[in-house]
Subunit: 225 residues, 2 copies
């Protein structure tokens, strides 16, 4: 579960990062509306925790812009309890849930999990690309009806590519989102796993769904290759 916390009070933000990481979430931080928006559009988060009062661009605007940009992440708004910011408005701009400050950490985690469940159920479970089927929920993959056994990494990689089927995805981006690693990790790692993936879902079937886009990364053919 990838979570983005957009919160300008740095101590609170860091406390949340610490606590949520301990709960098993993968947490990134942004400290103002604009960088939050930028991160959220650049990366695929499951849930975004969004403070309403932010420097630069307030939470409402971040939220509505995210929705306008087609984001389907779950959005949980943090509202200060002074009545100035209407919670109904938060929901109107496309938020999924809200929480009044100050809040208990346990409640936040519970809400996040509830949200994640709801989001999970509205996110596509299965991606069908020709005769290649990727089932994110069951973590299974079949090619022409034949089940294909994949290792966790291989599946995560395939799942990531499948969610962006037809698009070229850079190795750097793959490293960040599948490996959850910094920008200076080895792109060869991706190459090795791509190679392994091809050997399982393409080569035995004489297909080529996993395409190399030289200089730009990889692309999973929208028609399954």
């Amino acid at each position: 579960m990838r979570v983005l916390v957009v919160e300008d009070e740095r101590r609170l933000a860091q406390a949340l990062q610490l606590g949520l990481t301990a709960e098993g979430f993968t947490v990134d931080l942004a400290h103002d509306g604009l960088s939050g928006l930028a991160r959220a559009t650049d990366h695929a988060y499951d849930v975004i925790v969004l403070d309403i009062m932010l420097p630069g661009l307030n939470g409402y605007r971040v939220c509505s812009r995210l929705r306008a940009a087609g984001s389907d992440a779950g959005i949980l708004m943090l509202t200060a309890k002074d009545g100035e910011w209407d919670e109904a408005e938060a929901l109107d701009t496309g938020a999924d849930d809200f929480l009044s400050k100050p809040f208990s950490f346990v409640v936040l985690v519970a809400r996040l999990n509830a949200l994640a469940r709801r989001i999970g159920s509205r996110a596509p479970r299965r991606t069908v690309l020709g005769d290649l089927v990727v089932d994110s929920a069951a973590r299974t993959c079949t090619r022409a009806g034949t089940p294909v056994a994949l290792t966790p990494r291989e599946f995560a990689l395939l799942d990531h590519l499948a969610r962006r089927a037809g698009e070229a995805v850079s190795k750097r981006q793959i490293l960040e989102e599948v490996w959850d690693s910094g920008p200076n990790s080895d792109p060869n790692t991706v190459e090795v796993h791509i190679s392994a993936l091809r050997r399982k879902i393409d080569t035995p079937f004489g297909r080529a769904a996993v395409q190399t886009v030289r200089g730009a990364g990889y692309r999973l053919a929208a028609d399954g290759g």
Copy 2:
């Protein structure tokens, strides 16, 4: 990254030009609303830094006219006051971001970069020029439905020209923006790649989308040639 700074205080404007150029931006200046509007409609800028208080035509008006004219450049407004009203008004007229004077140069650069990222992500996925289709996200190109295989450089070049379809783009500009290289690199490099591009997207189809504008560079025909 092409930036237009519209600012009537000349010393500030020149300081910005100097500083932003050092940061790697290509910077043009305008000192009043009308000439700013004219420049912005004549040239393809990625981002426009727009002061609100301008002689002639104020920033709000410049901004809304630009949007009315279909400009999709990122617009960053410079507001003198720190009030909510300025912020809301600026965003409502179509600005993407704002910054209150006085501002720190570092912050401006950060905001410009953030804005550029967002603009990049909202840029059109596909450019259709007659039967020539350039898909930036998938990094594919088709002519009359036939897929055309391009090398990374060729694609970057075509993509660049396609985003400015109908405009003449100089070799120098191409070198800067596609090759990301200094002004003293060899323009022949561009010629060689243009030649290769034509051999792939024009010659086999008996078309001439890539046009030479003698002394001024190249232009991609808006109708695909």
